[in-house]
């Protein structure tokens, strides 16, 4: 039985300038113990979907279940299964870290929870911050408290909405070590992120959203092997010729161009030579999740992987 189930979820906003469909018939399931990634560009509907799961928003049609409980009609049971780390860095300025966690624990009917709170503080590197007021914490420390707050009632399903946006390397590592440990202990994790290397490293299965629709849904390994092409990577100090630029991904000086086989590699190199663009630090590598993501997002319609991939 799946632990989270989205069934034909549609969300429409009716504004003065017509209606806007944020989510269009989204259906997929997450299995117990999975580390599941939800990817998509800004505005694809990721946060809207998480909000409906969390009860912060309501679907125009369709339903969502957590642990078999409907998030609207059985919201109390459903929310006890969910630990949500919100995207925004919010806090209550009246309380210390420990007070914040005790209060949150109380809302879930766990008034005496200090052992677990101590463990959370220690695991998230907050052990010496318990008595500080939330206002005294740096942004990164506040983010850790948000994670602790989401986990204070030991939810079986942990939802992280862009948890590492604007977060330093140390916190990212602390966070992923801790979340991976919880995942190994059996917690289900649903992650949305912009950092595709994180999703590739952590998620067993990935769904990609584009303009409110699921355009890919598969095991991460299958998505990667589905994009079997290799990538030609090099550095360049001048502009690419226009025909190459159309298929390239350029990050600063770094250029990546898909090249399926040796013939294509040769063709690209020949074109560069003709154009008088000598590539530096040339290497040939396998496509990563970012390549898959861009291929799917820029492609028309659904990727082959999305068809029949519902688990």
């Amino acid at each position: 039985m799946s632990v989270v189930s989205f069934s034909h979820v549609t969300k429409r906003y009716n504004g003065p300038r017509g209606s806007f469909t944020a989510l269009d018939d989204v259906s997929f399931d997450i299995q117990p113990g999975e580390f599941f990634g939800l990817l998509g560009p800004n505005g694809a509907g990721k946060t809207t979907l998480i909000s409906i799961l969390a009860g912060l928003g309501r679907a125009s049609s369709g339903s969502v279940q957590v642990g078999g409980y409907d998030v609207v009609t059985q919201y109390a049971q459903a929310r006890r299964q969910l630990g949500i780390v919100p995207q925004e860095l919010v806090f209550d300025p009246f309380f210390s870290v420990r007070e914040t966690l005790r209060i949150q624990s109380g809302y879930f009917g766990l008034p005496r929870n200090d052992d677990w709170i101590d463990e959370l503080l220690a695991s998230l590197g907050l052990a010496d911050k318990g008595d500080l007021n939330m206002r005294q914490l740096s942004g990164g420390m506040k983010r850790r408290v948000l994670v602790a707050q989401a986990l204070v009632h030991r939810p079986p399903v942990i939802v992280l909405d862009e948890p590492t946006a604007g977060v330093d390397v140390e916190l990212r590592q602390t966070l992923w070590q801790f979340i991976s440990r919880l995942n190994r202990q059996g917690h289900t994790v649903l992650l949305t992120t912009h950092y595709l290397e994180e999703a590739e490293a952590l998620c067993q299965r990935i769904a990609m959203l584009k303009q409110g629709r699921i355009v890919a849904l598969d095991r991460t390994s299958a998505l990667l092997s589905g994009a079997a092409h290799t990538m030609l990577r090099f550095k360049l100090d001048r502009d690419l010729p226009a025909d190459l630029a159309a298929q390239a991904r350029v990050t600063g000086r770094i250029v990546q161009i898909p090249a399926r086989d040796a013939q294509q590699v040769e063709a690209v190199l020949a074109r560069l030579r003709e154009a008088g663009c000598p590539p530096e630090d040339l290497e040939i590598g396998r496509a990563d999740l970012e390549d898959v993501f861009l291929t799917i997002m820029h492609g028309e319609g659904r990727s082959p992987a999305a068809e029949g991939a519902r688990a």
Binding site: V3, P32, G33, S51, A54, G55, L56, G57, R58, G67, Y75, A76, Q77, R79, R80, Q81, L82, I84, P86, E88, V90, F91, D92, P93, F94, F95, E99, I103, Q104, S105, G106, Y107, F108, G109, L110, P111, Q149, A150, H153, R154, P155, P156, Q185, G186, H187
Partner: protein, 266 residues
Amino acid sequence: MNPSVPHVPLARPQPLDGTLPLLRKEILRFWKVAFQTIAAPVLTALLYLLIFGHVLQDHVKVYDRIGYTTFLIPGLVMMSVLQNAFANSSSSLIQSKITGNIVFLLLTPLSHWAWYLAYVGASVARGLAVGLGVLLVTSWFGAPPLQQPLWILVFALLGGGLLGTLGLIAGLWAEKFDQLAAFQNFLIVPMTFLAGVFYSVHSLPPFWQAASHLNPFFYLVDGFRHGFFGVSDVSPWLSLGVVGTAFVAVSAIALALLKSGYKLRS
């Protein structure tokens, strides 16, 4: 599901689960800034008493054998209860909404009853704390008798409950501090000032007497004052009926708004 996942004890959720932690948090919230939330309104009421009492003591006779300063005290106490009960729930909600930390409540299993009881309960607590402070400080200038303490308690609780509930509704409705301030300054403050805090409505011309009787806050002040002096403009039972009905009506609205997620869940 993997058996090693530590489970929340999944007893069937009860509608009042989590009410006490939320109530406690709401009380702590104002208690931590008690200088602003309790001491300041007590001082304001004291200033009203000193100024109005000094100016009017020898000019206004409301009931026989009761000096104006003594007459004024219960009204000031009730006015403080009402304004602070309103301020508590409304400012707590709007602050949480604007800073975004309301999300920590929205993610919990708390029912609309739990929200209602906690926010209104904390408002009543703050209203009573300020009211008691005003009573203690002002009594030095002419302690009113406590003829029927049960009426005092009933109207204090109902006043705090009614205004705490109105504050809850205003806090849900308002999207910025400006709107909340308008609700407070153009509705709550005039209605409390015109409820007979500073005068007996019997001293008004007939039109304004009738108008005062349309103001539900008048019955709160009048019934409350009856508890002290044993005399009032209308029967305390009438006041109880009017105030009780108003309280039930606004509570039903507040509960319906909370249940629907009005301006909380999109």
